[in-house]
Symmetry: D3
Subunit: 227 residues, 6 copies
Amino acid sequence: MYELGVVYRNIERTPLDTAQAMASLGSATVHEAMGRVGLMKPYIRPIYSGAQIAGPAVTVLLHPGDNWMLHVVAEQIQPGDIVVAAVTAECTDGYFGDLLATSFMARGARALVIDAGVRDVKTLTEMDFPVWSRAISSKGTIKATLGSVNIPVVCAGQLVTPGDVIVADDDGVVCVPKARAAETLAAAQAREANEGAKREKLAAGVLGLDMYKMREPLAAAGLKYID
Amino acid sequence: MYELGVVYRNIERTPLDTAQAMASLGSATVHEAMGRVGLMKPYIRPIYSGAQIAGPAVTVLLHPGDNWMLHVVAEQIQPGDIVVAAVTAECTDGYFGDLLATSFMARGARALVIDAGVRDVKTLTEMDFPVWSRAISSKGTIKATLGSVNIPVVCAGQLVTPGDVIVADDDGVVCVPKARAAETLAAAQAREANEGAKREKLAAGVLGLDMYKMREPLAAAGLKYID
Amino acid sequence: MYELGVVYRNIERTPLDTAQAMASLGSATVHEAMGRVGLMKPYIRPIYSGAQIAGPAVTVLLHPGDNWMLHVVAEQIQPGDIVVAAVTAECTDGYFGDLLATSFMARGARALVIDAGVRDVKTLTEMDFPVWSRAISSKGTIKATLGSVNIPVVCAGQLVTPGDVIVADDDGVVCVPKARAAETLAAAQAREANEGAKREKLAAGVLGLDMYKMREPLAAAGLKYID
Amino acid sequence: MYELGVVYRNIERTPLDTAQAMASLGSATVHEAMGRVGLMKPYIRPIYSGAQIAGPAVTVLLHPGDNWMLHVVAEQIQPGDIVVAAVTAECTDGYFGDLLATSFMARGARALVIDAGVRDVKTLTEMDFPVWSRAISSKGTIKATLGSVNIPVVCAGQLVTPGDVIVADDDGVVCVPKARAAETLAAAQAREANEGAKREKLAAGVLGLDMYKMREPLAAAGLKYID
Amino acid sequence: MYELGVVYRNIERTPLDTAQAMASLGSATVHEAMGRVGLMKPYIRPIYSGAQIAGPAVTVLLHPGDNWMLHVVAEQIQPGDIVVAAVTAECTDGYFGDLLATSFMARGARALVIDAGVRDVKTLTEMDFPVWSRAISSKGTIKATLGSVNIPVVCAGQLVTPGDVIVADDDGVVCVPKARAAETLAAAQAREANEGAKREKLAAGVLGLDMYKMREPLAAAGLKYID
Amino acid sequence: MYELGVVYRNIERTPLDTAQAMASLGSATVHEAMGRVGLMKPYIRPIYSGAQIAGPAVTVLLHPGDNWMLHVVAEQIQPGDIVVAAVTAECTDGYFGDLLATSFMARGARALVIDAGVRDVKTLTEMDFPVWSRAISSKGTIKATLGSVNIPVVCAGQLVTPGDVIVADDDGVVCVPKARAAETLAAAQAREANEGAKREKLAAGVLGLDMYKMREPLAAAGLKYID
């Protein structure tokens, strides 16, 4: 349940270097490193391919068809932040376009993740401002009802607390709680370090069956080969 | 992001009388009383019509296709509780049937709200054990992976903290945070008290336009009548 | 494209006896009689089973999350009317509940068809006021933005002009243009008259293959029987 | 890939007593007895609650918006059969209504499972002819294109071969291959026999944690209790 | 409700220069200029990115799985036209491919908007013939049933009358009634003219809160800042 | 119904030259050549545009959230094969990423078609390993439950038998049974040969109405032109 009509100005962000170090690792590796939790639902998709970013979340709660609070959150953005926008009911309206993107970029925002629609996607692509959204729609919004800024929100099925790390790329959007950011980064880096050697072996034709020593457990589980 | 593999045994429940007093008010009135927040997504539907209940939430986090933790949560149920089950990914499997319902009822559970599927619905209906779910499915589940009990969970888009009040009926499922339970109950009762008089007037033919004094604001907004 | 902020007070309704004579024929027969056009999309479902109604449409255009105009349309209802409510964007909010139903019934409305959500469905069922909707939801609405009353609207994919006949039952909702109401009624009654004899034959074991003389065209199309 | 334009008249049905013995066991128990395979997708729902049936499948392949082959399959029905209808593309049209149901019942059909829409559901309910479908729709169909009868079909994601057993109830629809029918029946009966004792224990307050001896594996998996 | 089996040869088109002047403004600006109505549902998406077009609509009504009338509408195309295709029921079949596109281009068509599926998208992209559709599918269609050409149709939830202006780009598809085309163009151009100055200010770091003078109404609505 | 826990090592593949000859024809032409059957549902989409491939299918059956069998199927891949992966219930998890793709490529696999999710799509695109999937998701999977390899599976609504030909491109995925591969190839080539001449005529302005001699059947069906 949400607290309405409030803006928290002082949030504790995950340190920027910790947060941004997760960008190159990507959402899949970070998600694995957390034990396969923290992922937003896969209906959230990037408006263009190839962007891969990470940063601390500033959050905003919106009402259906009303983007008033996106102007309020703009003032709370610090360089490197990623804005995470939730809506109190399902809505595909185009809450965000090139003007707001210009403002967000002027404040140093790195990206927007929104559980609703976005528009001006051609211009946003040219501006290189990445957005992950549930829809693309020309439909504009009004400015009439108060939501909140920097409260915990549920975005695409995932709880996001202000200051948590958002990692987003072509595979999806992951949220890492700030209390677990350092350990998650370490775990993800360890996974990554491990992958190069695996990739080489697999490329050389070694089977995962052998590399991961799966033949015995598969047999134990009863797998039968039939010629 | 969820903490996995833990069971919190001591949660602070909203007092049972406060929680249960919301049942007769219904989800729509309680939702209004909270300022139109707190509602689960409308894909959560009752397996049969007519049940109208309220009580404190005990929560459980499940993995897709795995109902192991439903047995763990059973032990944590106290009389009057409503079990709220979230899943780490979208799943429609039938996690819950008549055997688990028998166990839940023996512990005093009042209902189950689950962001997944349920089965044995004919028997559950005969047992008068209400379930709100996203699907009905014969598909059974395994018992292999740890989730958690009594951590905050996101169920059908709504954050539920253990001890919060769940109000569920044919219109949907609302979650009232325990810190706001008393004030919400009072506000909902006030709304309800107010409705009898309104209903009589409207039944007598008085228009909402007049009863709510809407004609002036409508004209101010520019409404034109054309004969 | 919709005209906003207007209420047409004088619409030409299909004569009530013509309209209501379609109720007992049902939506499927009427839909066939029109050449298989005029049907709303099948996501529009009745909130309870068994209601079967027909009557002239009064229409209302709503905005997402805003039910202000439902109070405006109430004044335009005449006995026997069916209110058809469209929304300018997809929305599942609960626009309509027992208070508005009380008012609609006091004005003589026969039913509501709404391309959005409805609530208080348990009470509406007890009141015997049928609603066909796309969703059931406790979520309330605000009263802030002007729509229109008695303009042509698109409801669940179907164009409805004020005064057209709405036929609704467990199978769905059909709209018959007033200009074609009389001929459609006659065609539907002819179909219906024809069905009793067919039903008797089929019950006696005559196959549709023979009754409809399908064996020859099936063979001509190349159907092969294999023993 | 489907063979078009053929009707296989002689199919090998699962013996009727074997097939029908699965009705009282229900889809969930049978599905478990098969190792959790064989279930149609859960979007297939009964048009009314409470029917619980089983019988050998006769299959029919239809084209979108065309129910011609339902008349062809009628002739192939033997008493106790369940007609399983697949469509070559997604379609929600109302392929089947009270006239076809009259014909199917005259031939001894026990039910219809159709991966498309159905209509006249009020009358079908009164006739006590159960249908499991993906939609309810007034929309009628034409009779123009050949499909096939008694070929293997994919219905709601499940391969059904003519003569297989269909088990359907409020929880869903399961298909049991005829080659595995006898063993599946035996396994399902064994499960069922086992459930009475479990239910009594659970009703007496024994926890599944103890009855199924789960405490040790849960601890081994690392479950922590926190007071 | 649709009139079937007719082709209107003489329609009144919005003047081509008025229509085409809307292309560079884009769907979002035009949609705002009309008061946020006229937009097709956002499930209609372009088959490739970057096309931005506008022109008068010629309309065609199709049946599910049947593209016969696309050949009929081809003859009615005039240079600059945009074909708008509606279907009488939901269908994702691939109605349109490279051969029809060749024919449409030979007639001078600028684009196709279709509430169904399309195929040969790789070739269409190479041909630079833009299509907005609800699906991409290899599935072909038959040529068997009459629809109509140049009647008013409902396409993706939007009423389109022949001669109306269609504006389509990466953000979606808007329909402007021909009676409102001139005023809408003027209003959209005024909006556009206004945007350059705003963009500069926002890029310079001025907040929307100040530029749009929102601080006072936000405070009046009760917004609280918490440090 | 699926056989679980088995790996068939010796399958009869469609000859590679026959299979691969279908790649340049594309899914739409092949689908037409088979009489418009054999197409997977259109929710299966390529992770990047432009790939157009064909080859014999090796199949694998997976459980929700479990990719163990993808390692088992890797060993059964022969150069030119296309892996077709089905799941026993709906799931969008990311079963397959760059490591498995490295292994599949080392074995000579040409592509993957999976009725579930995939991840590392940026890397897969750089590797030029095409995947057709129902979702993109960072969510990883476990390795716990046996499925099967090289049994007939239902993938996206389509039955695929090991050795059948898979044809996949931007328009979708078609399955050609190996018994019909040669005749389908011939029929598709004949269609294709025929298209060049048609395309030229249409480009020159000849209408399909005339080229396909449709004017008479349209008139016979009752089409009326209105000036």
